[in-house]
Amino acid sequence: MNPIGHYLSLQWKLIQRQIIEFGIPLSIALVGAPILFFTLSMAIYYRTDYAGIILITLCFSWQLKISNSKRIEFLKLHYKSSLFLKIRLIENLLVFLPFFIVLALHANWLYLAIAFILTILLVFHKQRRLFHFRLPTPFHKKPFEFIIGFRTFYAFYPICIALLLIGYRVSNPNLAFVALALTSLSSLLFYQLLEPTFWIWIHSTNAKQFLSNKVKTAVFQHLILFMPITIICVLLFPAHWYIGLAILLLSAVYLSITVIAKYANYPNQISVIDGIFVGISMFIPLLMPFSFYYFLKKSRQQLASLL
């Protein structure tokens, strides 16, 4: 097999293993993923006027993720320059492909051209490892989820603030509150990262105290991070102050459930069934107390042997 073919087949094997580890049968994932992608894309087009921008952002974020410095370093080390560039181009084009289909179907030629140019440019982009750059955060006293999360998603916040200000400029409170909701809900993503066993074992608390401390820290840091943007939103749309407050508080409740649910299947990621249950209980707030109790019990059981 030629080196590129071998590399790509190895990547495909890796993806298959990740899907199986995630608990989804491979056949279902292979059929379901494209259907889900195109359904969600249609929903984005149906619900917003900014579908093109959202799709380009998603495509570029995905390409950036596979262009991280360690991966690039590995490829450069093992493949000669011409092969390296070909691999990078093929990888980026493979990510671009589904977005290309959706954008072409909607005749979004401008966005399609932008996405294509970004795809090519990223092949030649040299990402430097920022050894000495450290983004300061106000969370240094209580590491670690908000520190890592903020440093991962910091570029996302100016975009949301820009959307909020556009909402104000065009007198569209809905756009502003969507931007606020996106910002506030980003903290849920901070808790998708599972820490190593050792990072839990070091705590001198029992499982109940550990979870309680985690939730308290999460909610406190959530309020610190998102209070300012909520205040800006409320000041810009004083008539809708209660929506801003509701978004901030509801996202804090969602965050608490996410924190508790994170350890329900520890040391593995949350199972698909439990993940769906978290999602459903967020849509049906009446289920919240039940899901909270359910995940608390499950997480305490999982952590008991470590703490």
Binding site: F131, K141, F144, I148, R151, W201, I202, S204, L306
Partner: protein, 226 residues
């Protein structure tokens, strides 16, 4: 502080790694564990720390043991985007301790404001060791503490182990560099076939080293294709 291990057994599936193992770890004493790769040293350490389930009993005069135990992993893992300073803070928070001035107590002179995941292997080891020393533990498990660190820091680690002993801490250490065990240990056990049947006192360390050399080199080089 004293740790008493009685009839400790551990298996992974059908593979028995530790078999009715007995060991007593006393305060102010440094015990060395040697064994080939895969002999079960790290498994034994994980069992003592309570990270792995096991059969048998591990008792100590401070309870729970894990809250007074500093555990240095063979290969300390650091999540991305966490600085050395934040990692040390996390370790202090975990034990509900007031964090000291990390800059003043930065005895390995680490770049604490740099992301720990970008540290070299040796620097990661030093950061992990620095962290467990800040936790005011009473017993220490040091799994390959000399792995990847420079000569100057090796000397510092040896001195740290001597000071831990002097402060009446119990220390359990594994190392593939025999000279470091000779410098630090009061007794060395050989982990073989899941057990610690063979033990050596300081006056017998040279004998152990020679035995290991003869056994390993003789066995391995017979199959060398040169």
């Amino acid at each position: 502080m004293m740790i008493q291990i009685k009839n400790l057994s551990k298996s992974f599936g059908s593979k028995l790694v530790l078999q009715n193992l007995n060991l007593s770890i006393e305060e102010g004493v440094c015990i060395g564990i040697v064994g080939e790769n895969g002999a079960g040293k790290s498994t034994l350490f994980h069992c003592i720390a309570g990270i792995e389930n096991y059969n048998g009993s591990i008792e100590s005069d401070v309870k729970p043991l894990k809250n007074h135990l500093g555990f240095l992993n063979t290969d300390p893992y650091f999540l991305n985007k966490i600085t050395g300073r934040e990692y040390l803070q996390l370790l202090c928070n975990a034990r509900d301790l007031i964090a000291p001035d990390f800059d003043q107590k930065n005895f390995f002179e680490l770049p604490l404001d740099q992301y720990a995941s970008t540290y070299s292997t040796g620097m990661k080891k030093k950061l992990a060791l620095q962290g467990i020393l800040f936790q005011q533990n009473k017993a220490f498990i040091l799994d390959e503490p000399y792995n990847g660190i420079d000569i100057q820091s090796s000397m510092l680690v040896t001195e740290i182990i001597h000071r831990l002993k002097a402060a009446k801490n119990a220390v359990l250490i594994s190392s593939h560099i025999f000279s470091t065990l000779k410098e630090t240990c009061d007794i060395i056990y050989v982990l073989k076939n899941g057990n610690l049947d063979e033990c050596y006192l300081p006056e017998q360390f040279d004998q152990l080293e020679n035995e290991m050399k003869n056994f390993t080199i003789g066995k391995s080089l017979d199959s060398l294709p040169i």
